[in-house]
């Protein structure tokens, strides 16, 4: 049986000048659910989070968080929310311990309670040794972990995570994913946005794809994967694919679809198994050197590309080029 709905939005809209950032967003998040919000840059993910958390006002629409009408009174539900923004925005001049105690005080926690909780979280996040160091001296991964710790210092039942692992090292990202899983297991409702589709695939119960301010699909990972489950895919790396290699391949192998991923990569998709030999020979006859042919497992990324028309890799690189958000 589904758990009760804890976040409900209906017809949420928000415009900034000529830009329609959010254009009629509807979704429900159930209690204890880990809900992913995926979309390309500028799709409206952060604006939606800002509206839900009270940092922005919607132009129209309804938001209910735990039954509280947040469109009318955004402050009323803030004590239920933990928020981890896309940038680590703690106080550089305070130590890790002081930052956590200060954030706890913002939620009215008593001195002994906040000190105990701060020490507990510093231990849990592996930051106990850096507790008395200033936040400005932390590495990116440490900053991200402390920002998440600050988001959950008051034990909120609902946690918003905006790009929690963008721009940090692999080890820290893995630790953060584990922490998210632990929080989810402990019953926290988590609303997460991420550019890493494989991360969303691994973590989320349900995912909503948002493009140009509209939700184009919301479902469980298993249901979203259904259309690509029977598809056979292969990625072929070549010296140079030339202007019309995909067209020539499609004419020669009509049962398969060929897409140019880049000038050096071609993706093959087919409803039947793909034989690599004839394709490689065909390419070599055309003077194209093949360096690698790799079978691909169907993934949520395929679903994302099909639905949004945005190449996930390009989206990720664009975000990282912007500075990673830490």
């Amino acid at each position: 049986m589904a758990t009760p709905v804890i976040i409900e939005t209906r017809g949420l809209t928000k415009r900034f000048g000529d830009v329609q950032a959010v254009a009629g967003v509807d979704f429900d998040v159930h209690e204890g659910e880990l809900f992913g919000f995926l979309g390309p840059n500028g799709a409206g993910k952060t604006t939606t989070i800002n509206i839900l958390t009270g940092l922005a006002r919607p132009d129209s629409g309804e938001i209910l968080i735990s039954g509280i009408n947040c469109a009318k009174n955004p402050k009323a539900a803030q004590h239920l929310l933990g928020i981890v923004p896309d940038e680590s925005n703690l106080y550089p001049e305070l130590t890790g311990f002081e930052n956590l105690c200060f954030c706890a005080a913002l939620y009215g926690m008593r001195k002994t309670e906040r000190q105990t909780r701060a020490r507990e979280l510093l231990d849990k996040f592996g930051l106990a040794d850096a507790a008395d160091r200033r936040f400005s001296g932390y590495s990116r991964g440490m900053k991200r972990k402390l920002t998440i710790a600050a988001g959950i210092i008051h034990n909120p039942p609902i946690l918003f995570l905006d790009e929690p692992t963008t721009g940090i090292d692999v080890v820290s990202a893995r630790q953060i994913r584990q922490l998210i899983k632990d929080l989810h297991r402990a019953g926290t409702t988590i609303f997460i946005t991420t550019h890493y589709i494989e991360e969303a695939e691994r973590l989320c119960d349900r995912i909503a794809f948002i493009v140009r301010g509209r939700i184009v699909q919301t479902d469980t990972v298993a249901n979203l994967m259904q259309p690509v489950r029977g598809i056979h895919s292969m990625l072929i790396s070549v010296s140079n694919s030339g202007a019309n290699l995909c067209g020539e391949l499609a004419a020669a192998f009509p049962a398969h679809n060929f897409y140019s991923v880049s000038s050096e990569q071609i993706r093959v998709e087919s409803a039947e198994p793909v034989s690599v030999g004839p394709i490689v020979r065909f390419m070599e006859d055309k003077g194209v050197e093949v360096s690698e042919a790799r079978k691909l497992q169907p993934s949520l990324e395929d679903v994302f590309v099909r639905i949004t028309g945005v190449e996930a890799d390009a989206m990720r690189k664009e975000k990282e080029k912007q500075g990673g958000g830490v």
Binding site: G54, L55, A56, K75, N89, L90, A105, L106, Y107, G108
Partner: protein
Amino acid sequence: MKRWTAFWNILLKDIRAYYLKPPNISWGIIFPLAWTGMFFIKSGGGMQNLLSLLPGLIAISVLFGTTSMLAVTITFEKKSRSFERLLLAPIPIELLMLAKTTGAILFGVANAFVPVVMASFLSDMSGIAWSVLAPTVLLIAISSTFLGLFIAVSVSEVFEAQTFSNFFRFPMIFLCGLFFPIQQLPDWLQPLSYILPLTYGADALHEAVTRAGRLPLYLDILALSGFCTALFILSLRNIRRKWVT
């Protein structure tokens, strides 16, 4: 109670992080000292002239101390996005901004008493009406702090905060009657003086120190209180409009 825990901790954090930093303590002492020295030498008078300079020195110390600190610290926190953390906390925006401004008000009051302490070593202070001076200093500190808040909300960069502050501060010093009586200003400039909060603060300070106030004291206090309220309401309105978009 929970809200006041937040209020108290925001205030303490700001005092520790900004106002008790050695550069700011030295600014708080050196700045009034420099003004005192400058005006004392410029006036060419003896020690008996010191008390006539005191209202101006107090007012300038408070004005510069509060507006500089608040405009910069809030703009800095807004720029680094740590201010969002406060906006996302479950405390009313009025209480949040009071917490953010109380540190600057206290800093302003402390600044005001640097020239007072110095003067106490050099001059006879027995004639000062302390019951008028203390609330006047507090009201000047509050109105200047809220002016700093208004400036902080109006700009997005730290350097803009400094420039915009000077746009208000320097004309205010020369038009508020601290160093030149308003009556000596050109006729067309005089009305401008009466829309500046410091005019009323300066008048009340003159009354407290040398009994030379030109307006009724209740009018000075009322006008200053009115400026405090108006600037705070205006700043809150701007915060809601610009920061909770």
